[in-house]
């Protein structure tokens, strides 16, 4: 028993250490291609709604991909600057990720609200269930049992 508990403790420690180690070490440095891919996957393809420039094989997506590649290999702009440059150059709403401001923020807030709300529902359900479980018999109940026992013995 005791050893089991200490083994568990050791295991938790081991996992924690390994996770910290594994999440702080990094893989190979980001290449230009990685940067192009990650930028194009947050850009909406203008002619095919719902798809990103990275996914789409449409001509419009092709030209935006080429432009992003040019910007990245020029190496003069940051990611943010490249995105706003693309927005200026191609016009309209180009981002595939809704912003976290104004009404658009609802798309981020509502899922969190739904999760909190349903956890609250679960919690209140469990407190309710716990509340009505350990009912001790009332004096009425005891009388009924006593009467039943008495008739039972009378019959015998």
């Amino acid at each position: 028993m005791k050893t089991r508990r200490s083994v568990w403790l050791a295991m938790f420690l081991l996992v924690a250490v390994l996770l910290v180690f594994g999440s702080t070490r990094t893989g190979s440095p980001q290449t230009q291609q990685d940067r192009i891919d990650s930028l194009t996957s947050v850009l909406a393809c203008p002619t095919c709604s719902g798809e990103s420039v990275f996914v789409s094989r449409a001509v419009a997506a092709e030209s935006i991909r080429a432009e992003v590649a040019r910007q990245v290999s020029a190496g003069l702009r940051t990611d943010e600057q490249i995105l706003s440059y693309i927005e200026q150059r191609f016009g309209g709403e180009v981002l595939l990720v809704p912003r976290a401001t104004g009404v658009d923020a609802l798309v981020w807030a509502l899922p969190v609200a739904a999760l909190v709300f349903s956890i609250f529902l679960l919690y209140s359900a469990f407190t309710k269930w716990r509340g009505n479980k350990p009912e001790s018999p009332t004096s009425d109940d005891e009388q009924i049992v006593a009467r039943a026992l008495k008739t039972n013995t009378d019959e015998q």
Binding site: L18, G50, V55, S56, V103, V107
Partner: protein, 654 residues
């Protein structure tokens, strides 16, 4: 030939009308028979289901005949038919646009109605069966009507057309077009059966556990096909679309995922009801949600309000589906409200540390997941309605939100299978989770040794290890006790499904986090290398047939074998379609695409290389899920070996 083919339009439409009449009479017979409890009328029901099924088969066959004989008097054949389409893709062209896909829906639904009425033929006196069939007839009648009026595949086309463009190029370059849509429809339409029984249970007031147990296998069947259909779609996306991904969170993909999510929640929470008689309202609501989401999804994606790669041209069927969606919701909520007193559950859940509480947590997570997917899919519509402004909600949003939900679900999969019903002590947990936890540690250590990094993927691998350990524990204990019977039944088969899900989760974690890509400008006979692999362009060739011109780059990978990514121009449609070429192995896929612009005479080509780990395990995981689903559908250990194996109803344990 043209003379005889011209008839197929008339014949097909006549079949649709007959099918509609059969479904209306069937609904009438079922409802009247059930209300008056009149066996004379009830006996007629199977005839009407046979009639409308035969009519649906007839209509579908007429469409196939028109397509095969290239009857260009029909508008639909003009749209998707072509003399140059190969026979196989021409056969599949029937379901490659809106009207034909509705016709396939009609066929599958009429087939399910006929199958259910055959299945209950010996128990027709049981009114629940009649009511359920009545509901199915009503839904069938709706689809026959949609196919007859707004989505008529047999409408006459402009005169004088002698050839057409053929189906969308993406629907004529991979064999999966034969399988993905029909299998997906078997699942998508199949959820009508448990829904119909749920409504019947509400109407008859027999909301106890009997109908649930009776329809368990239908639900599992539909869920299994939906799972398999979605997975085939992902495979198709990977093999054909050329962006190296399996899931794009496209609105139509979401429309198939939504009922899958609520359906998955249902097949878990229904176990709580079977075992403890609880969650009755919730389970019925999940079935209603699952069915109505198939209708809502069809409305969203087929009415032109949302666009996607899957979306067909705009049509007027939107209002029809919206109306059906409204009717389903009003009727179901009304019935649930009316039967509220009978639905109240008798039991309580004693402890948050119990199997039933874990199922509850599972349901909360799946409900939130469904909410996220639905919200993201319709959010552009909401913003457009509120502010008349276009926004896009795409993959980055869904990826970001589904990752924590996925990790939470993996955590549950690690713990829930070892939890007993009613109440567990922490001591039991400690004991039962001991070996599974070590599996998790082993998975973590192994992935670190292989060079993995980052918190999310490492958590995925660790939790995957624990979950796999927990699932194996159940299977090992069961087979040790019962031999091969330990592999069948819902608990054991379910664990095999879990193992498949874990493989998929781990493969997704690995391929999403550790893929590498590089664009290479290859010159003929000069070796380039990337990520430890070499690529050498041998030749650029052109292949022509009467529907397309394709340019293929022949690339020698690692000096061993030639792969040929291509770009194909479909001349009739004027659309370029890239075709990737993939070297698959158990550890890593090398995925090659040819990037435009291409010239056939050039001695150079731009190639994009993706190195993606563990992709094949997605498909192995899917296969395991399919096997597990079949095993779960077989009766478990509660059946005596002397019982007839075809006995359809299991007796529920108290």
């Amino acid at each position: 030939m043209f003379a005889s083919a011209g008839i197929s339009g008339t014949v097909g439409r006549a079949f649709l009308l007959v099918g509609f009449i059969g479904a209306v009479f069937g609904a009438f017979a079922a409802f009247t028979g059930a209300r008056r409890n009149d066996p004379q009328i009830i006996r007629l029901i199977p005839r009407f289901s046979t009639l409308s099924f035969a009519a649906a088969v007839g209509a579908f066959a007429a469409m196939e005949y028109a397509m095969i004989t290239r009857d260009f008097s029909l508008a639909y054949v003009q749209k998707v038919g072509s003399w140059s389409t190969p026979a196989l893709y021409n056969f599949a062209a029937v379901w490659s646009a809106l009207e034909g896909s509705i016709l396939m829906w009609v066929l599958v639904l009429a087939g399910y109605t006929a199958a259910v009425s055959f299945w209950v033929r010996k128990r027709m006196q049981d009114l629940i069966a009649s009511w359920a069939l009545g509901v199915m007839f009503v839904v069938s009648a709706f689809f026959f009507l949609v196919s007859f009026f707004p989505a008529n595949p047999f409408a006459a086309g402009a005169p004088g057309v002698l050839d057409g463009p053929g189906p969308n190029p993406l629907l004529q370059n991979h064999i999966l077009v034969m399988f993905h849509p029909p299998i997906l429809y078997l699942g998508y339409v199949g959820v009508t059966v448990p829904f119909a029984f749920a409504i019947a249970a509400l109407i008859t007031g027999r909301v106890g556990e009997g109908w649930l147990v009776a329809t368990r296998r239908w639900s599992l069947f539909a869920w299994g096909f939906l799972t398999f259909g979605i997975a085939l779609g992902s495979w198709w996306s990977y093999e054909v679309l050329g962006w190296s991904g399996v899931w794009a969170w496209d609105p139509v993909e979401n429309a198939s995922l939504l009922p899958w999510i609520t359906g998955t929640a249902y097949i878990h929470s229904v176990l709580v009801q079977e075992r403890r008689g609880m969650l009755r309202v919730w389970n019925i609501s999940l079935l209603v949600a699952t069915f109505s989401l198939t209708i809502l999804g069809t409305f969203l994606t087929r009415s032109g309000v949302l666009n996607s790669v899957h979306a067909f041209s705009e049509s007027s069927i939107g209002s029809w589906f919206l109306a059906l969606f409204a009717v389903i919701l009003v009727v179901s909520i009304g019935l649930i409200g009316w039967r509220g007193d009978k639905l109240r559950s008798p039991g309580v859940i004693d402890s948050p540390l119990s199997r039933e509480a874990a199922f509850l947590a599972n349901n909360v997570l799946f409900a939130v997941f469904a909410f996220v997917v639905l919200l993201g899919t319709v959010f552009p519509l909401i913003i457009e309605a509120l502010q008349n402004r276009q926004i896009a909600v795409g993959a980055p949003f869904f990826d970001k939100l589904s990752m924590p939900i996925g990790l939470a679900l993996l955590t549950l999969m690690a713990i829930a299978p070892v939890l007993p019903w009613r109440k567990a002590s922490t001591e039991t947990l400690r004991q039962r989770l001991f070996w599974p936890a070590w599996c998790g540690v082993a998975a973590l250590v192994a992935s670190l040794l292989l060079g993995a990094y980052g918190l999310a993927p490492l958590l995925t691998f660790t939790l995957g290890g624990i979950s796999a350990g927990a699932a194996m524990r159940q299977v090992v204990l069961a087979t040790r006790r019962q031999g091969w019977r330990g592999l069948v039944g819902r608990a054991n088969g379910g664990m095999i499904v879990h193992l498949g899900v874990i493989l998929i989760a781990v493969a997704l974690g690995a391929s999403n986090s550790f893929s590498k890509s590089q664009e290479l400008s290859l010159v003929a006979n000069v070796e380039a290398s990337f990520s430890g692999h070499t690529f050498e362009l041998k030749d650029v060739v052109e292949v022509r047939d009467d529907r397309s011109i394709s340019v293929k780059a022949l690339v020698l990978v690692d000096g061993k074998k030639i792969y040929a990514p291509a770009i194909t121009k479909y001349t009739r449609i004027g659309m370029n379609v890239g075709t990737p070429s993939v070297r698959t192995s158990l550890t890593t896929d090398i995925y090659l695409t040819l990037e435009p612009p291409v010239r056939q005479d050039a001695n150079e080509a731009r190639i994009k290389v993706f190195i993606k780990p563990m992709i094949i395990w997605l498909w192995i995981g899917t296969a395991l899920m399919a096997v597990g689903t079949v095993l779960a559908a077989f009766p478990g250990r509660r059946r005596k070996p002397t019982d007839a194996t075809s006995a359809p109803i299991e007796v529920a344990a108290p």
